[in-house]
């Protein structure tokens, strides 16, 4: 029952000296917010609510301040993501050099689209803004390591190696299984709503209710409402039957206790 809490307590104790060293680098403690969140994300695979609360107490600010700040940055994942985060550049330099085909190939190969995570929790896929490697299009990052001048053959090799566990880049920590993949509008995607992989979104059933929702009640309420609201939309990949709903509710109950 208490494994998650115990694990986190141990992690927080282990990271405390490193966090204190980070804080000492600055004139004001709050400046260490980003580095501390990076540190927790490296260890947990995402920025957990526990990590945000822990950072808040170390920095002497409220949890809401930490969450608000974390939510500003696309590289902080506020929910679990895949072990390999694949971020392909959709900047103009890459786009005029064939990035569209590369992105299409990725989507077909992985069976997931922009901002989605594969059901086995291995891959998350995101099309990102200019990565500053425009001389070698199409470029991408895997867990923030660069890969350049992509071709379908390279992608095949890359994905196979990740599946086989032999890829050159280490997988991210994954202390919690990513949630089920819900639909994100692919082609008509515009920037309102969820903008990045790790963001939560009020209209999204996977959304947690934020740090104030320790008991998960807000999330449950939102989930039920969204479930009703979205049931009629046939073009979306929705929960089709009761068993999936039970799955998700089961996951939630598990996470909530």
């Amino acid at each position: 029952m208490s494994t998650r809490a115990e694990h986190f307590e141990a992690l927080a104790a282990r990271l405390k000296p490193a966090c204190e060293a980070l804080i000492a680098q600055y004139e004001e403690p709050r400046s260490a917010l980003l580095p501390i969140m990076h540190l927790f994300q490296e260890n947990e695979g995402f920025v957990s609510p526990e990590a945000m609360r822990c950072a808040a107490s170390m920095l002497g600010v409220s949890p809401a301040v930490v969450e608000s700040t974390v939510s500003f940055y696309t590289l902080f994942f506020r929910r679990p993501v895949g072990k390999y985060v694949l971020q392909v550049c959709r900047g103009l330099s890459c786009t005029v050099s064939g990035a569209e085909e590369i992105m299409k190939y990725f989507r077909e190969k992985l069976g997931i689209g922009h901002l989605q995570t594969s059901d086995d929790g291995l891959f998350s896929y995101e099309e990102v803004e200019c990565l500053a490697a425009c001389d070698k299009p199409t470029c991408m990052q895997v867990n923030l390591e660069f890969f350049y001048s992509l071709t379908p053959a390279m992608i095949d090799e890359m994905i196979a190696a990740m599946r086989a566990g032999t890829f050159a880049v280490a997988p991210m920590a994954q202390t919690e299984q990513p949630g089920k993949t819900w639909s994100v509008k692919q082609d008509g995607e515009v920037s309102m709503g969820r903008k990045s992989l790790g963001a939560t979104d009020v209209s999204h059933p996977n959304n947690a209710g934020g740090l104030g929702d320790a008991s998960g009640l807000i999330m449950l309420d939102r989930f039920v409402n969204n479930e009703i609201a979205m049931r009629g939309r046939s073009n979306e990949r929705l929960v089709q039957d009761a068993s999936s709903v039970a799955d998700v509710l089961g996951d939630h109950e598990h996470a909530g206790h």
Partner: protein, 417 residues
């Protein structure tokens, strides 16, 4: 060919990440010389005399920026801006990874030049590898006595903090960067006060780009006259141009400012066989396009401004005749809509709606009224925001809409639904 390797010297030939290699090639000599034989105001004078202008985008004279610091406040900070994310720019990424000690020496010189005892570098979150390389360089430099208390026995204390961002283009805007460095959302601040008066922790602060600070090293080594002898009347010295798009050899090329646009294309291997030039975006995602009639213009701050565009960060994106400018305009606008911090309504809403409308065009579902709106919208976004991001949404769109109206008209839906 005008390619002149100054900052880029040695890259690809030797391992400049190795502090011993860097020092063999004269590295840290200027820092030593400055700290032992020069007053900090001498460094400022050199920067001013050289005519060096900010290489991050705004092109503000570096010496002048420093001179705005109020003399009576002893606490001041130097912040190096390595949050390179302007679409098409990849020079700081290269400098950070390939020649980190040059970047570091530039920062330390800059800090000494403004009399700062604590410098910061803000590295884009995506540059994880660059961050690791730079951290190693900092550790080596610290061991050699270039950073910390009593640098090189001169009695001057100089601390350096390396700060990694977490994915936000807007943190490249100097006040957004300072907020992010303070552990806040990277939302730009209202100016004035400018950072020189009230910056990091409310103290006088200078924010300079990586390339700007790195040029301090050769400027001190060769004298400010060496730098100001190159370039045009008001655009002095060298600049790394990030050339990408439809050229055969894209890459970073360091050239004197004022090199003709045509030559830049030739340096980068020229266009692909059988292709003709359609447009060039000469200064990053925020800049308007220039066109074949500008091929003989000198590539400098003034000429590009005269042509209705800007030099910006020196990103030079070449687009040939196969370019879909509707798609390109959508891509550019989507970028700014995605990166808007959301503080100012014209930028947040304007970017979003332009993106939505342009997406209709991409899908061939544009409306006549949309086209009119695209012309009309000009002036309802630009100039109405706290920072330059909102002003950057329209220039590319406007320039290609004016030049290639037929491409937009062809995407108007003709069949009634």
């Amino acid at each position: 060919m005008p390619v002149t390797k100054v900052l880029t010297a040695g890259i690809g030939e030797c391992d400049l990440r190795d502090i011993a290699v860097y020092r063999q090639r004269g590295g840290y000599v200027q820092l030593h010389r400055a700290l032992t034989t020069m007053k900090s105001t001498d460094v400022l004078d050199a920067a001013e005399k050289s005519g060096l202008r900010g290489r991050g985008g705004a092109g503000f004279p570096t010496g002048k920026k420093w001179s705005f610091l109020p003399g009576q406040i002893p606490t001041r900070y130097l912040v190096c801006n390595c949050d390179e994310a302007e679409p098409g720019t990849f020079k700081d990424h290269m400098l950070l990874e390939e020649t980190p000690h040059l970047v570091l020496e530039g920062i330390l010189l800059g800090a000494y030049g403004i009399g700062s005892h604590h410098a910061f570098i803000y590295i884009r979150g995506e540059f994880k590898r660059g961050y690791e390389i730079f951290m190693k360089a900092v550790a080596d430099a610290r061991a050699a006595g270039f950073i910390g208390k009593n640098v090189l026995g001169t009695g001057y204390d100089l601390e350096l903090t390396v700060h990694r961002g977490a994915g936000a283009y807007i943190c490249g805007e100097e006040t957004g960067l300072l907020n992010s460095l303070e552990g806040k959302r990277g939302e730009p601040r209202l100016k004035p006060p400018f950072p020189a008066i009230a910056g990091l922790y409310g103290m006088p602060t200078v924010v300079n780009n990586v390339e700007t600070l790195a040029y301090l090293v050769p400027i001190l080594a060769n004298g400010p006259e060496w730098f100001s002898a190159v370039g045009t009347e008001r655009s002095k010295g060298y600049k790394i141009i990030s050339i990408s798009g439809h050229v055969q050899k894209p890459g970073n090329y360091e050239v004197p400012l004022g090199t003709p646009v045509r030559e830049l294309i030739e340096i980068a291997g020229g266009l692909f066989p059988g292709r003709t030039l359609a447009a060039i975006q000469p200064g990053g995602g925020s800049s308007a396009c220039i066109f074949p009639e500008n091929l003989d213009d000198p590539y400098d701050y003034e000429s590009l401004a005269k042509a209705g565009s800007m030099l910006g960060s020196g990103a030079f994106l070449v687009l040939d005749d196969r370019t879909d400018f509707v798609q390109a305009a959508y891509n550019m606008v989507r970028f700014f809509a995605h990166e808007s911090c959301g503080q100012c309504t014209p930028c947040r809403e304007g970017g979003h709606w332009l993106e939505t409308v342009l997406h209709r065009f991409v899908q061939g579902r544009g409306l006549h009224s949309d086209l009119e709106m695209l012309h009309r919208v000009s002036g309802t976004i630009t100039g109405l925001n706290l920072c330059a991001l909102g002003d950057s949404i329209e220039p590319f769109l406007k320039s290609v809409l004016k030049r290639f109206p037929e491409q937009f008209e062809a995407r108007i839906q003709t069949v009634a639904v």
